[in-house]
């Protein structure tokens, strides 16, 4: 029974006014239904950028789409990861901003080195993007043990930081500003519901209940 799709912030606001946990238990279905309605009415698909310029955001979005590509299910692009990163760099990941600035410069240089006629990473063909990004990722791995080969800033810092932030933006609870409409959770098979009842999956479907085996209660 996975019938609830509440937005947590909204239902927590309602929860704050609840008289008791017992009340909450009794009223849960109506409460989460109201919360879901409120969430749908309030959500915004295109938040404003606060740190990146539009050009920078286009490059970052294209890079995040290499880490988690779109396909039959949503990828970083559909989850709004670039907006998550933009907000994060304004707030709790602000110390990473120089890493992004250097990383964007280095990505441009790598693009120019590998494909001189291409204006920017985001303007490259999908095939070329893959080659450029492979260089960036490989360089990051190489730098763990040896000297860097590509432009400064195409560094372990940038690839690793971008990767972690992309994963955050794709899979965070939407309250955290990413995973728009739970597309990240849906892509990995996580039901976005907030409460569940057993059986949860395949193996516990026909579980008969815990039974002692012969001699089980005897002391070892």
């Amino acid at each position: 029974m996975n019938s609830f799709h509440p937005a947590r912030r909204d239902f927590l606001q309602l929860l704050g006014g609840a008289a008791s946990a017992a009340w909450l238990t009794a009223n849960w279905p109506a409460l989460v239904s109201a919360a879901e309605h409120a969430h749908q009415a309030a959500k915004s698909d295109h938040p404003a950028l606060e740190v990146f310029t539009a050009d920078q955001a286009r490059e970052i979005e294209a890079l995040t789409a290499c880490i988690i590509p779109s396909g039959e299910t949503a990828g970083a692009r559909e989850a709004g990861v670039v907006y998550f990163i933009d907000r994060a760099l304004k707030t709790f990941f602000s110390e990473a901003l120089p890493v992004y600035q250097r990383g964007l410069e280095a990505t441009q240089k790598t693009t120019n080195e590998l494909f001189p006629g291409v204006a920017s990473f985001s303007a490259a063909t999908e095939e070329h993007k893959l080659k450029i990004f492979t260089h960036i990722a490989d360089e990051s791995e190489r730098q763990k043990d040896g000297p860097r080969r590509l432009a400064p800033g195409a560094s372990e810092d940038f690839f690793q930081t971008l990767r972690v932030h992309t994963i955050f933006g794709f899979l965070v609870d939407p309250e955290g500003g990413g995973n728009r409409d739970f597309v990240g959770w849906k892509a990995i098979g996580r039901d976005p519901s907030h409460s569940f009842s057993s059986p949860f999956g395949f193996y516990d479907k026909n579980y008969p209940g815990w039974q002692p085996v012969s001699g089980e209660t005897e002391k070892k």
Partner: protein, 553 residues
């Protein structure tokens, strides 16, 4: 709903000031205020309520909503005493009302009889500072039962042949079994082991005005917004406040225990949220600040009378740190487990609790089947080492594995080693200019060997369970601790322990310590149950001393 709250002036000499509102501090506050004493609890963190809890990892993990903040409270780490420690988040503990009980996984094993007398049984172990407890399992049993019934523990009595004796069954049935529990149980039985329903400090049924678990799956690291997790915040602290004699005072960073010329504690000095300093006067002081901050506070309280730190005539304050050893094994299965639903653990086994000495290993451990990942932590660290790090292959692996993976967690003994310790860093200061917490730690070689042995058994279980893919990350020396045990150990001899069996410090008669630091051995992991049982017992002992006039005299 607002709770009744008494407030005291700092100049009021209350009966007890308790430092810390976590697993032990919450129990002590409830018991002592119920017994008629006036109590102030000083908590370093904020007073968050259930409505403040969230599943947003950027708040919970990145911004440390519930835990210690290393930007203002830095920590340093080194492996051995001859190294210079470097800044590192080596310790994680709860920093909010309810302490670490707010974010814990809620595994609630009792220690076994052997844990209290193992030194007598196996003798000295080279490199370890091994000792028996001054109390036995039988002394603690009534208090284990009290924990189960008062804070709320789900489980099935008699389901493990290895369990120690108990005087009452659990107050409520086990939580629902998960896919990992079913697979683990079948595999263990195939191999002749004895899996059983995990005792968990999570309500399987509504109780005392609290809701039953809704199986949201966000237990480890998160606060429970329906109060089904049996934290101090949701269980004993409301009871303490209801007495009208207990004030929970948040945002108080205690940095000194003040003593008078007779060597008696007169209260706790703290910075409030505005960084103003106050002395809360009290007839007696109880430190329940956890196994890292309790010894640090004693060391910070050094003065002319106690130059090595308060209650440290033995030199044992901060020593013998035991974080419990651990190892992991992972398996991926054909069908969907969906183990992200429900509490992390539903089946455990204790067949290896006391290993056969013929193996050449000391101690033992417990194994549980679990899934304690969030989607983010799974993507970062839950997949096989050869998984692509990005691109379509990465996404495909995530989509396939997230619902089909579980772990077997091996929990085990940490031997006490004297040089493994918490101390004051001589160079690094916190945001108030006070010496930072320094951790010195290197696992006893036995603990690493024992974990390798345990991990091999876990991989065998995954084989028997039919895992399609399995792997075990290499067992490594630990550099991160959440179980903060043994650092002000209990004992009868003032030369080799910090507190006596009543939790009273040997050196300062109206100063008591009760938290993970009190433990003499580490059990096999999952220490919170034992910390809370000790707190209930300590409250009885302290109450008896106070009523006989033996504290304020």
């Amino acid at each position: 709903m607002s709770r009744p709250m008494v407030t005291y002036k700092t100049s009021d000499e209350v009966d007890f000031v308790i430092i810390g509102s976590g697993a032990a501090g919450g129990v002590l506050a409830k018991e002592l205020s119920t017994n008629g004493f006036r109590v102030v609890v000083l908590e370093q963190g904020e007073y968050l309520r259930e409505k403040d809890f969230t599943h947003d990892e950027t708040k919970v993990f990145v911004q440390s909503l519930l835990t210690n903040k290393v930007n203002t409270h830095p920590i340093t780490f080194r492996k051995t005493p001859d190294e210079t420690a470097r800044k590192q988040q080596a310790v994680l503990y709860g920093s909010c009302v309810g302490g670490s009980s707010v974010h814990f996984t809620a595994n609630f094993w009792r220690f076994h009889e052997i844990d209290f007398k193992e030194h007598s049984k196996v003798g000295d172990i080279p490199g370890a500072n091994f000792a028996d407890w001054p109390i036995s399992y039988a002394d603690l049993e009534p208090y284990y039962t009290k924990v189960e019934w008062e804070i709320g523990v789900s489980g099935l009595a008699g389901s493990s042949p290895f369990d120690p004796p108990r005087s009452k069954p659990y107050p409520m049935p086990p939580l629902p079994v998960k896919g990992n529990g079913v697979v683990f149980e079948r595999a263990c039985r195939k191999l002749g082991y004895h899996p059983y329903p995990a005792p968990m400090a999570i309500l399987s049924q509504p109780r005392a005005g609290r809701a039953a678990c809704m199986n949201c799956g966000f237990c480890l690291g998160f606060g429970c917004e329906v109060a089904a997790k049996s934290t101090s915040l949701s269980s004993v602290i409301p009871m303490a406040e209801k007495t009208g004699r207990c004030e929970i005072r948040p945002n108080c960073y205690v940095h000194r225990i003040e003593t008078d010329k007779n060597g008696r504690a007169i209260g706790a000095v703290y910075f409030d949220a505005q960084r103003n300093s106050h002395l809360q006067k009290a007839k007696a002081v109880i430190l329940a600040a956890n196994g890292a901050e309790t010894p640090r506070l004693l060391l910070l309280s050094a003065n002319n009378q106690f130059p090595a730190g308060l209650a440290n005539s033995s030199g044992y304050v901060g020593k013998n740190l035991m974080p419990n050893s651990s190892a992991l094994a992972y398996g991926i299965f054909d069908e969907q487990l969906n183990d992200y639903k429900g509490p992390a653990v539903s089946r455990i086994m204790h067949d290896f609790y006391e290993l056969d000495p013929k193996l050449g290993l000391y101690g033992g451990g417990g194994l549980d089947a679990r899934f304690d990942f969030t989607p983010i932590s799974f993507a970062l660290s839950g997949m096989p080492p050869d998984t692509p790090k990005w691109g379509a292959g990465f996404k495909q692996a995530l989509a396939h594995n997230f619902t089909r993976t579980f772990q077997i967690f091996c929990h085990g003994t940490s031997l006490p080693v004297e040089s493994n310790s918490f101390s004051l860093d001589p160079d690094v200061k916190d945001a108030w200019g006070l010496p930072a917490l320094r951790m010195t730690f290197r696992d006893h070689p036995n603990d690493l060997k024992m974990m390798e042995w345990m991990q091999a058994r876990a991989l065998e279980i995954l084989d028997a369970a039919g895992a399609k893919t399995k792997w075990g990350p290499p067992v490594q020396e630990q550099q991160f601790a959440v179980h903060l045990l043994g650092t002000c150990r209990m004992g009868s001899d003032p030369k080799t322990s910090v507190i006596n069996a009543d939790h009273r410090t040997h050196d300062v008669k109206n100063l008591f310590l009760c938290d993970g630091s009190s433990l003499v051995t580490s059990g096999r992991g999952q220490p919170t149950m034992t910390i809370q049982a000790l707190a209930y017992r300590a409250a009885d002992r302290i109450t008896a001393l106070a009523k006989r006039g033996e504290i304020s005299a």
